[in-house]
Symmetry: C2
Subunit: 366 residues, 2 copies
């Protein structure tokens, strides 16, 4: 994050503004609140690539008629522990929490619950949805497919999204463990930062349109592609590709959404491919009740010990301990609630253009 470019805004002001934009798109009060909550959660947790920076992107998709602000979200298939939901082209920010609630209800009744979703679009951070399981003492899971930007090992074609996987584990006296990761080596947000700063990127993040490894983040705009976690075959990129494939299949093949290179792009200036094999983007959400396996108190005693033991693992450098998955995001959330959410100028400009358009109060930093 570039400190010189950013200003901080109070969480509640930004939340109200975001909600007003969704209301202006025609969302119900309830849906606008929910969608704003999902975006704000990303900004609070320091995952600013997935927060209000994307608000203008959702508006542009709505302009193109690709987002239905008043969807009829419905279950189209189910068993006691599974369901498929049709998102009716609604905001993924609304469809995914709705689907996760269905998964949580099923888990309440039979121990675990699983919902595949079709006909949706970008759902924000996977962590939001998976974290919904935590207060019920459940383990949460969320995946989604996404705009094709990643090439499989041995290919130069963009066939997959950054397809994240998220697992959330409740703990006892500590914050939950949150594994929330793109299955590419680097997420798009990190490339954007490198591009803005004109810095070279590490090997294994990006390849050119001919499939050659590159240290220039700009190659992505020249028809290049992101690489699966691992970077190249020798460093395990077939594993990143395998995980990304699994996310695509769970999210889109299992639900009847559009998969692989057909996944509809988030940027509104790219049209979805013709001859779509399914409907919209897909997600896969689920939860397991901890007490479906053992008493919650026994589990919590062990998970707390797990956290303490990993935190105490021998360090390579005295200044850097092991980072428990989710720890940086938990710390960011505490700081940002206290000090306000940092925004870069480019995002502030986008938000103020939305204020203009929808006749809302511009963003204030008082």
């Amino acid at each position: 994050m570039e400190t010189k470019e950013l200003r901080r805004i109070d969480e509640h002001k930004l939340r109200k503004f975001t909600q007003d934009v969704f209301l202006s798109m025609g969302c119900s009060q309830q849906d606008a609140q929910l969608a704003a909550d999902v975006l704000l959660k990303a900004d609070l947790r320091g995952i600013d690539s997935h927060g209000v920076a994307r608000l203008i992107g959702y508006v542009r998709l709505w302009d193109k008629g690709r987002i239905n602000p008043s969807p009829q979200i419905k279950i189209i298939h189910e068993t006691p522990s599974t369901a498929t939901v049709d998102g009716d082209a609604g905001l993924g920010l609304v469809v995914a929490p709705h689907a996760m609630n269905i998964a949580l209800e099923k888990a309440d009744k039979v121990g675990s619950g699983w919902v595949s979703v079709k006909n949706s679009n970008h759902f924000g951070i996977a962590g939001y949805h998976a974290l919904m399981a935590i207060e019920k003492d459940m383990i949460g899971m969320a995946m989604t497919n996404a705009s094709p930007l990643v090439a499989p090992t041995f290919s130069k074609e963009r066939m997959l999204g950054t397809n994240p996987i998220c697992y959330t584990f409740p703990a006892g006296k500590y914050p939950p463990i949150v594994v929330d990761m793109a299955t590419s080596t680097a997420a798009n947000g990190k490339l954007e930062v490198a591009q803005r700063k004109h810095l070279p990127i590490p090997s294994g993040w990006v390849q050119t349109k001919e499939g050659q490894n590159s240290l220039d983040a700009g190659e992505l705009k020249n028809g290049g592609s992101l690489l699966p976690l691992g970077g190249d075959r020798e460093h395990g990129s077939h594993k990143g590709f395998g995980l990304s494939s699994a996310v695509d299949i769970f999210s889109a093949v299992l639900s009847g959404a559009s998969y692989g290179p057909w996944a509809p792009p988030f940027v509104a200036f790219l049209e979805p491919a013709k001859d779509q094999p399914g409907q919209g983007l897909g997600h896969f959400l689920g939860a397991w009740r901890v007490d479906g396996f053992r008493p919650v108190e026994d589990y919590k005693q062990n998970i707390d010990q797990w956290i303490e033991r990993f935190k105490a693992a021998e360090r390579i450098s005295e200044n850097q301990s092991v980072i428990i998955p989710g720890e940086p995001e938990n710390l960011a959330e505490q700081a940002n609630r206290r000090e306000g959410i940092p925004l870069v100028d480019a995002v502030i400009n986008d938000l103020n253009s939305l204020a203009d358009r929808f006749k809302l109060q511009p963003i204030r930093f008082s």
Copy 2:
């Protein structure tokens, strides 16, 4: 694989021999057959590090009293879609398929089934167990924790196993998709090959005991450690660490097995750590019915199209297409069934020492 060192043996002869060794350890006929089937499946699929090469390792654990050849495997906790199984220190090769059958029965009834297992040990290839879902038109999943060899990002301490994750997806006219991967950059088997051949290994596989990256596979024997998928922080090793942590928690914290650095080692010359927080190794197994989400025929039409589209993705080199996860193992299985299972001399010697000890016919290559 080093062709000069290997000879091929007919699958059925090797199966019979393996079964006889398990019978000699005191396993029932049924358990010996099953355990041999799991090991042979690894050799057939070309994952020779997890096949009969490990048979002598199981015998040594039994010698130490760490394997119970006649376990009372039982469900100790359950809901309609979840259960925890106590493996009673039985062979993981027997305990895991037993637990997977419980998961499949639950999935039959309520759409999905999940079983965490404690008090087990090494279960062979994850793929065997997850593949059990395929003939029922279910998606399979298998994970296990394992002997601590992998250091978390920023640590020089061996805290995690190579902790594999496996997903299996049934297809229509094609073999199933099998994503079966260690969450370390490289599996131990690949390091052993490099060591035997005195070849340098790629950067990002191994670090020294001081936590410095190394190109020498031998550093593992000098107190070094394997690295999580990604290799270093810049290349996403925190993601490999996150996945490996998730596997450890699902397999061992959720079940009540021993987790992290306490996971009991596979090699019998290392004693399990004192003050174990749980019992034995843990696994996590499960399955989702495809028709819990949509009609199987619709899914199969889409998954076949997925395979065809990825196979046809633009190549970087004309000679190398995209490899569908599981494809090399499927091809190896066809070849090895036809031509026999290749064994290196070191493994043949180990097997013949078992033949001596248990008064069995030595391995013949006629």
